[in-house]
Structures are given as structure tokens and as C-alpha cells.
């Protein structure tokens, strides 16, 4: 059961060590300062982002019972951005914690809207669900972009919605991601509940759970993770889609066992993309989100083409 855990952890450790030693600046002279202010925060940010997005993806897939959904393709980041835009327009001087809360609440509303939308879809039409998500995210994104354009806030908006990256991460500017990390811990504590809800609301009721309460908890995890990531480093597509699909193919939907591997693999994927982005055109950088977009789109197509072979 824990077999995939050890190699995943080993790979992530190797990537993290590499991440500490790769970058535009060399590590002689003020190595301690560079590590402490830049490399360690950047590495931590990539790990937290990847782990949180992958876990948010697997949670969403379980509670909505569809393998092809994740926050990034269902409008959650656009909803978070809409909230951020609104609070920036209404109260530009609002403290960061307030903006954070508004973004999280707005992300939650967007996710609830998506959950309500897909409830009307026939359950066997599994591809309608991700398609609806893409449409919803397109509509929300267009709205946010339009308002951003009209109000001259487009540069901010694009930071949130365009491919995320870690080059701006230094100590003191990424710590909100630990809240996303806390949401992951919460998801792990509730892993069995999410897996039972994955059996369907009836089965969950029969086992004494309140399916609506579990659904709310899951949506809250998804919203908090997405909002914190969008606000801090921008959105990374496909992490929540590819990683859970690959891990659960091997380990199944027993989330208690699979969730740590999902988290570690998600962290590894984002960190690897960030590292690759730092290396390919050294000393310049390609955003990790851009690299993920390319890899992820191909992997997403492969998953769709591979289809419903796992019975979902």
C-alpha cells in the first residue's frame, strides 16, 4: 500500500535539493542569505503549490464523482480572481488578509456554482462535466478580463489568471501558501469521508455520513487551496488533473493511502517544471505554469482519449 510513497518521497527530496542550487545567481559569497531569502522560499512555495493543487484536484474528483475535473478547469481560479478584482476596486487599501478572505469566499461561490450546474447533467455523460467546467471558467475569465480592462487593472488580473510562476517568490511573499498546506492536512484528515462520498450520496448516508456536509467540506478545501495559490503565485493548470489520475490508477480511490502520494507527486511535478523553467534558457526563466500548460494539455488529451476505461 505504501510502496509508491517511498520513491515519490525520494524523487521529491532530490528535486528539492536541486532546486536549492539552481538559479541565475551562484551560491558563493552570500550563499546563506540567498538560500534563506530566495531559494528555500521558492522551493517551499513550489512544493506547497503542487501538493495543494493535486490534493484539491483529487478531492474535487471524489466529491463530484468525475475523474476529469479539477479546480483550474472548472472556474475556481477565475472566481477567486473575480473576488480579488472586486475587493481591489471597492477597497484598494484593504489589508491582505481581507483580500485573501474575499478571494477564498469568491472561489467557494464559483465552485458551488459549478457543483450546482453539473447536478443537472446526466451522470453517465462523464465528458459533459469537464466541458461545462471549461465553459464556466471561460465565461468567468472573460468577465474578469473585461472588468480588468475597463478599470485598468489588467496587469493584476493577468498575474492571477495567466500561468503561475515562482520567480517573484522571496521570504515574506509566499507564506499564505501554508494556509493551502493546512487545507491539505484537513483533506487528509477527512480522506475516508471523501472516499465514501465517492461511492455516492446514498452509500454515504447509509454509512451514517451527511453527504452534504462532506461535500461542503470538500468544496471549502478546493476553494481555500485555489484562492491561496492564485493570490500568491498565480494559477497552475492540470496539476490537479494529471497527478490524481495517474496515482489513483495505481493505488485506487482509497484516499487515506493515496492522498500522501498525490500530494508528494503534485509537489514533485510543479517543482520539476519550475526547475526546468530555470534551466532551459538559463539565466532567464520560463514560468513553471507555461511548462505545465504544455505538458498538461497533452496529458489531458491523453486522459480523455483513453476514456472511461476505469469505469467512471
Amino acid at each position: 500500500m505504501t510502496r509508491p510513497l517511498v520513491p515519490t518521497l525520494a524523487a521529491l527530496t532530490a528535486l528539492a535539493l536541486a532546486s536549492l542550487f539552481v538559479g541565475a545567481a551562484s551560491l558563493d559569497g552570500q550563499a546563506g542569505l540567498l538560500l534563506w531569502v530566495s531559494r528555500i522560499p521558492r522551493t517551499a512555495a513550489a512544493i506547497l503549490t503542487g501538493a495543494a493543487l493535486a490534493v484539491a484536484g483529487v478531492v474535487m474528483q471524489q466529491i463530484l464523482r468525475n475523474r476529469f475535473v479539477e479546480p483550474a478547469t472548472t472556474g475556481t481560479p477565475e472566481a477567486a480572481a473575480a473576488g480579488l478584482l472586486a475587493i481591489t476596486l471597492v477597497a484598494p487599501a484593504a489589508p491582505i488578509w481581507l483580500k485573501m478572505i474575499v478571494a477564498a469566499v469568491s472561489a467557494l461561490l464559483g465552485t458551488v456554482l459549478f457543483a450546482a450546474l453539473i447536478r443537472r447533467l446526466p451522470p453517465r455523460e462523464i465528458y459533459l462535466v469537464p466541458l461545462s467546467g471549461l465553459i464556466l471558467s471561460g465565461v468567468l475569465g472573460a468577465g474578469v478580463t473585461f472588468v480588468g480592462w475597463e478599470t485598468d487593472l489588467l496587469p493584476y488580473v493577468s498575474v492571477w489568471l495567466m500561468s503561475g510562476e515562482f520567480s517573484g517568490v522571496i521570504a515574506g511573499r509566499y507564506e499564505l501558501l501554508w494556509i493551502a498546506g493546512a487545507a491539505v492536512a484537513l483533506a487528509w484528515a477527512a480522506a475516508d469521508r471523501f472516499a465514501i462520498l465517492g461511492l455516492g450520496p446514498e452509500a454515504a448516508t447509509a454509512l451514517g455520513l451527511n453527504p452534504r456536509a462532506v461535500l461542503r467540506l470538500g468544496l471549502a478545501v478546493v476553494a481555500i487551496v485555489t484562492a491561496m495559490v492564485v493570490v500568491t503565485v498565480g494559477m497552475f493548470p492540470f496539476v490537479g488533473l494529471i497527478v490524481p489520475n495517474l496515482v489513483t490508477r495505481v493505488m485506487g480511490d482509497n484516499l487515506r493511502a493515496a492522498l500522501p502520494v498525490v500530494a508528494l507527486a503534485g509537489a514533485g511535478l510543479v517543482l520539476a517544471c519550475d526547475l526546468a523553467g530555470r534551466i532551459v534558457i538559463h539565466p532567464y526563466e520560463i514560468p513553471a505554469g507555461t511548462i505545465l500548460g504544455v505538458i498538461g494539455a497533452l496529458a489531458f488529451l491523453w486522459l480523455l482519449w483513453r476514456g472511461d476505461r476505469d469505469g467512471r
Binding site: R124, G198, L199, A206, G208, R312
Partner: protein, 254 residues
């Protein structure tokens, strides 16, 4: 004992269940029979509180299912519904282990492991224990779900058409299992389409038609030619085999 009082159910103006008052005896196997659309599934789902609470009350062993906390009820009754076709990618053992959730909340002790092992053995699932559900045949998956409900080890077990997908050996095996539960003091409510399973194994039969209960009683009292013919709007002959009714529903009358 399950007491149903003035229970009714309406969907979009269509009455699925007319106001129903009914008592299901404890310590017996009760079979719920009737034609398609009679409201059998709805009644069983309402008793198992997986359908939103409608007008009327259901008491299971004295507890009102609308107000009793779900966790408490899950130690009072287990329910297995008909499958939607969406399969989780769980290993059979993990699925059966979820049957112990109401007792251990994810921290199984020796008693839970023993119950899981019993359920796996009872439904001949040991060779499949490490298989993923979505790689099983319909009947194998049905047995895995039955084992989950059995592992819950509740005083009441409610099954909605559990014989679906089961071959005849496993169908009979399930009835043997239910009879053993009954002999150990358990109570079972089972929605059945095959009247002869009801005739051979049930202690009590509830016949439903068009959302209403039309007859209740011992199998030999309910499973009679005239009553079944009226119930299904089809002439049905009933004979006796081994002291129990044998329904010849597959034969057209001469």
C-alpha cells in the same frame, strides 16, 4: 421493529407512495414484492432515509429516522440500493472495510477486522479482496457491496433488489446468509422480483401496487393465485412445494 406511519412520497406532482402505515416485524425476513413502479424501492429507500424526508414518520427500533443522528442510525440499519453504474476504483477489501465506518470511523480495531474477514468469507470474496471494483463483473461487484452492508453488522439490513446480477448459486447463497442473520436475531427487509425467493425464504411478505400496500402476511397467505394474479394483472398459478408456495409465474395459463 420498523413502524411506518402515514408515509407518502410525491415527485413532481406524481404520487409514488400513497400514505402508508405499516409495521415490519423484527427477527424476520420481510420480502417486499409487486410489479414495476409499485413503490417498493421508494418505500425501502425512505425507511433507510436515503430519500429526502417526506411527510410521515419511520421508526426503526423506536428511533425516528428523520431526527436520529445519521451515525447512530448507521449502527441500527444497513442499506444497499440499486447501482447507478458509477464505480469507484476501490479495492474490494477497502470497500468492505467502509462498512465498518459507523463503528470505527476509519480506525478499525480487532472486532472490525474480524467483521471484515467474516463478510469477505461469507460472500466468497477472499480471492478478489485485492482487486479493484471497476475490474469486477456485475455480479462480483454486487457481492462486494453486499459484503460491505453485511460488515456493518446492524440489527436491520435493508436490500433493494440485491439479487440483480447474481448467478443462481450466489443468489441462493445470499438468502442462506440472510436466513442465518435472522436465526441469529437479525431483521431483514428485501425488495424481491423473483417471487419464489420470497416464497421460499421470507417469513413475512408485503405486496405493493401503484404506490400502496395491498396485502401483508405470511408467504402462504399472500402468495396465492388470486392475489398474485390481481397484483400483477396477469393470471398466475401457485402450487405447493415442500410446504411452501411455488409460484408458476413463468407458465402461461392453459
Amino acid at each position: 421493529m420498523i413502524e411506518v406511519t402515514d408515509l407518502s412520497f410525491t415527485v413532481g406532482g406524481a404520487q409514488i407512495l400513497a400514505p402508508t402505515t405499516l409495521t415490519l416485524p423484527a427477527g424476520q425476513i420481510t420480502a417486499l414484492i409487486g410489479p414495476n413502479g409499485a413503490g417498493k424501492s421508494t418505500l425501502s429507500r425512505l425507511i433507510a432515509r436515503v430519500e429526502t424526508p417526506p411527510p410521515g414518520t419511520v421508526r426503526v427500533n423506536g428511533r425516528d429516522v428523520a431526527t436520529t443522528p445519521g451515525g447512530l442510525l448507521a449502527r441500527e440499519l444497513a442499506f444497499l440500493g440499486q447501482h447507478t453504474g458509477l464505480a469507484s476504483r476501490l479495492r474490494v477489501r477497502d470497500l468492505v472495510a467502509f462498512g465498518r465506518w459507523p463503528h470505527c470511523h476509519g480506525r478499525p480495531g480487532p472486532a472490525d477486522h474480524a467483521a471484515i474477514a467474516r463478510a469477505l468469507a461469507e460472500f466468497e470474496l477472499e480471492p478478489l479482496a485485492q482487486r479493484f471494483l471497476d475490474t469486477l463483473s456485475g455480479g462480483q461487484a454486487q457481492r462486494a457491496h453486499l459484503a460491505m452492508a453485511a460488515a456493518q453488522e446492524t440489527p436491520w439490513l435493508i436490500l433493494d433488489e440485491p439479487l440483480n446480477n447474481l448467478d443462481l448459486a450466489h443468489a441462493r447463497g445470499l438468502m442462506v446468509h440472510l436466513a442465518r442473520l435472522r436465526d441469529a436475531g437479525g431483521s431483514v427487509l428485501i425488495v424481491l422480483h423473483d417471487l419464489n425467493f420470497a416464497a421460499a425464504w421470507a417469513d413475512h411478505v408485503v405486496a405493493m401496487k401503484a404506490g400502496a400496500v395491498v396485502a401483508t402476511g405470511r408467504p402462504e397467505a399472500v402468495l396465492t393465485g388470486p392475489l398474485l394474479s390481481a397484483l400483477y394483472d396477469t393470471e398466475i398459478e401457485v402450487t405447493v412445494h415442500g410446504g411452501r408456495p411455488l409460484v408458476l409465474h413463468h407458465l402461461a395459463p392453459a
